[in-house]
């Protein structure tokens, strides 16, 4: 018997550590012969903590939303008496989520123990790099990646082979390969999941990249906010070194040396920009510079440097093992292969899913994600984070590939999908993103630095009910200016969340500005709480709860809210048993 506990950050946040120690304790106390192992995130974060029990025949029972008490029961019944507990195990409908996916980058996540290199090797790991070193030339490796049609999964979707070839052609004796693991889009977490759940796939991807372009040194630039990812990576690198996958003369191949190191980022979204990332690696402020020269010619310490993101690199070993054609057989004409999406927001079954490119948005949100929480109305999905935009309900049939998503005004980005329902205010959403980009602008370009600030001021004003005629046009004008006047991707895309919400939800902006109403009932300054005379029985409960004594009225007579005093906390509406408090 074997017990496997999901120990990704999401699992741990849901309480997996407590479950783990309970299981260890129970097993220790009873002196049972059971292996307890950990694994990464399987992507069904809404079911965490997840515990798998695997019996002698290899049959797996998956228990979900496990508490320490349930864990004890699982030991008592399943482990001791071999009786699976059906009411705790995963339901067929949730299990089918996995079947609807095609997992390439996530192929091992949630299935192997990320802290044990042998499990990765058992799954065929490090075979692809061996094949490259022993049977292929660097050019053939690049050719295979070209055939796969793989494009960068971090944002712009630039063909990976093209970058590799540019770096390969640079005639310098020292070159670098850098992995951008500084996952910046707030709302996307596929990179974290791969780092925590399958770090060796990234290491192998970097080895292959290093072999192809001729780099002997790789650097992984990880977000400091991901301590667990850093820890697992460190372990993985150590194990890979011990096995001889990193070091000198790898696979006995004279002259193929490669090693890796980790550099923790210090928190700056702009470092997603390649030149800023390089500056940061060199210990400077992460400020972008003009291109050319491109990093492939002059990057880290002036040497040719190739930068790929985590998901891109995790795909590489699979492609080299199975061939580029198998990868390019999936997806659409221009967007090949699969893509990982982080489904969050008002979605029932939030988590990570990997699907072939080109499937309609609807399938991801409704078939896989289970639709909207409380079956409310789907309003929009935000893609591409601070550089992206909102795709409205009427475009739900849009296929997810780079070109189609760009056409809607959003971008593929790193694959974050934040789902919104009718209770999400689009003006507030735009304001939220501008607040983010305003804070994260490095300050080099005036348009980006000051323009985002001005846009934010206008949006805040609109949300607070101070919007003026002409504000929408001003936002549009500013947005275009910022796009034109900014050096790097951050500034060039910062207005997107505003422009795309204006494009699809102009009426919402107008309603804020001209009618001082927030249709989603989210902008506090635009809300009024009032008591409906016909429904109020005068119980006085709301009056006692109101923190500012804004409610007047005699007992058994209908009450009234003093709008001057009301701070719109909503307590009265929450406590009223007669639904007499109305929110407008």
């Amino acid at each position: 018997m074997k017990i496997v506990i999901g120990q990704g950050s999401c699992g741990i946040a849901a309480g997996a550590n407590k479950v783990y120690s309970e299981i260890e304790k129970e097993i220790g106390e009873r002196g049972l012969q059971v292996d307890v192992e950990l694994t990464g995130c399987i992507g069904m974060c809404f079911l965490e903590p997840i515990v798998d029990v695997i019996d002698e025949e290899g049959l797996k029972t998956t228990y979900v939303n496990v508490t320490p008490e349930m864990a004890k029961e699982i030991i008592e019944k399943h482990i001791l008496k071999n009786q699976a507990i059906n009411e705790y195990s995963i339901v067929a409908d949730d299990l089918s989520i996995l079947k609807k996916q095609k997992r390439v980058a996530l192929r091992n996540c949630g299935l192997i123990n990320p802290e044990n290199i042998d499990e990765y090797i058992q799954k065929g790991g490090y075979k692809a790099i061996e094949k490259c070193v022993k049977e292929m030339s660097p050019d053939e490796v690049i050719e295979e990646v070209k055939k796969s049609g793989l494009r960068g999964r971090g944002g712009a979707g630039f063909p990976t082979w093209f970058k590799w070839e540019a770096a390969r052609k640079s005639s310098d004796s020292i070159k670098y390969i850098v992995c951008n693991a500084d996952e910046g889009d707030p709302g996307a977490f596929m990179d974290r999941s791969i780092l925590e759940g399958d770090p060796h796939s990234l290491i192998e991807g970097m080895l292959i990249g290093g072999f192809a372009i001729g780099a002997k040194e790789g650097i992984i630039y990880v977000r400091a906010e991901y301590p667990l990812a850093i820890l697992r990576l460190k372990k993985a690198i150590k194990q890979a070194r011990e096995k001889g996958f990193l070091g000198t003369n790898i696979f006995g191949e004279e002259g193929f040396d490669f090693d890796l190191r980790i550099k923790a980022g210090a928190g700056a979204f702009v470092c997603g920009e390649e030149t800023a990332l390089i500056a940061s690696l060199e210990g400077e402020r992460g400020m972008p510079r003009l291109k050319p020269p491109f990093p492939a010619q002059k990057g880290y310490w002036g040497r040719p440097t190739n930068i790929n993101n985590v998901e891109t690199l995790a795909n590489i070993p699979w492609i080299l093992e199975k061939s580029g054609e198998v990868f390019s057989a999936m997806g659409t004409e221009k967007s090949k292969g699969t893509k990982v999406f982080a489904l969050t927001g008002k979605i029932k079954k939030g988590g990570l899913v990997e699907v072939p490119m080109g499937i309609p948005l609807k399938e991801i949100i409704f078939d896989i994600g289970g639709g909207i929480i409380n079956d409310r109305k789907f309003k929009a999905v935000q893609m591409g984070g601070p550089s992206g935009g909102c795709i409205p309900a009427q475009l739900i049939d849009t296929p997810v590939d780079y070109e189609s998503i760009t056409k809607t005004g959003a971008i593929m980005g790193s694959g974050g999908m934040v789902v919104m329902d009718e209770g999400t205010c689009m003006v507030d959403m735009a304001r939220f993103f501008l607040e983010f980009t305003r804070k994260e602008s490095c300050g080099k370009c005036i348009h980006c630095r000051i323009g985002t600030k001005r846009m934010l001021e206008i949006l805040t004003r609109i949300c607070e009910g101070q919007g003026k005629d002409g504000d929408i046009e001003l936002l549009e004008e500013l947005g275009i200016k910022i796009k034109e006047g900014s050096l790097c991707g951050l500034g060039q895309t910062a207005p997107n969340p505003v422009l795309s919400t204006i494009r699809y939800f102009r009426d919402e902006y107008e309603s804020h500005i001209y009618h001082k109403k927030c249709p989603a009932k989210q902008c506090i300054s635009l809300l009024t709480y009032s008591i409906l005379k016909e429904k109020c029985v005068g119980c006085g409960l709301c009056g006692r709860q109101c923190p500012v004594n804004a409610i007047e009225g005699e007992i058994k007579k209908s009450h009234k809210i003093d709008q001057e005093k009301c701070i719109k906390c909503g307590k009265c509406k929450d406590v009223c048993k007669f639904e007499a408090v109305e929110l407008m």
Partner: protein, 175 residues
């Protein structure tokens, strides 16, 4: 930027005499021959003091032969670096997109109210610091916060209040 000109007299006056330069020297020694390691140095130094005291920044500049302005520039550029001391419990409240959509603003209000501080501040008793951060990577459990190394998901304003209240009570018992 915040200079220690007496405004935080009780907290930030980590005077030169109180600074343990030995550990600092060890870190500087470790990175002496590695170029471009300023950020790594600052990260490790912050581990020791929990923030970057002004004197320490100047000391680093001096030892690494980098202009103080550059050290300060880097220290203020990245959000990870703090120039002010923090409380015993560092609350990192996620304000990423997923958390925002699921109501992280209300969590912030509840925590501010419970602790009587604003975002970015530390309580009088030096127990709690409240900081907003962007995405902790647990979006499917949003809204999320991290206190020291522990992550708390699926927060509601009440749940968040309860978590810090319990910590407060635990501390009071210890005293």
């Amino acid at each position: 930027m915040n200079c220690c000109k007496g405004e935080h007299s009780n907290k930030s006056k980590l005077g030169m005499e109180n600074i343990d330069f030995k550990k600092l020297d060890l870190i500087l020694e470790k990175y002496r021959d590695i170029s471009g390691s300023l950020i790594s140095v600052l990260q490790e130094v912050q581990e020791i003091y929990s923030y970057l005291p002004m004197e320490v920044l100047n000391y680093i500049a001096d030892k690494m032969k980098i202009k103080p302005a550059k050290v300060h520039g880097v220290a203020t550029f990245y959000t990870q670096f703090r120039l002010k001391p923090v409380g015993k419990y560092m609350i990192m409240l996620c304000q990423g997109t997923a958390c925002h959509v699921n109501g992280s603003k209300a969590i912030e209000e509840a925590l501010s109210d419970e602790l009587n501080i604003k975002e970015g501040e530390t309580t009088e008793d030096n127990l709690f610091t409240l900081n907003n951060v962007a995405c902790l990577g647990c979006c499917s459990l949003s809204p999320v916060m991290m206190i020291n190394d522990e992550t708390y998901g699926k927060l509601t304003p009440e749940k968040a209040r309860k978590i810090v209240r319990e910590m407060k009570e635990k501390e009071q018992k210890v005293v």
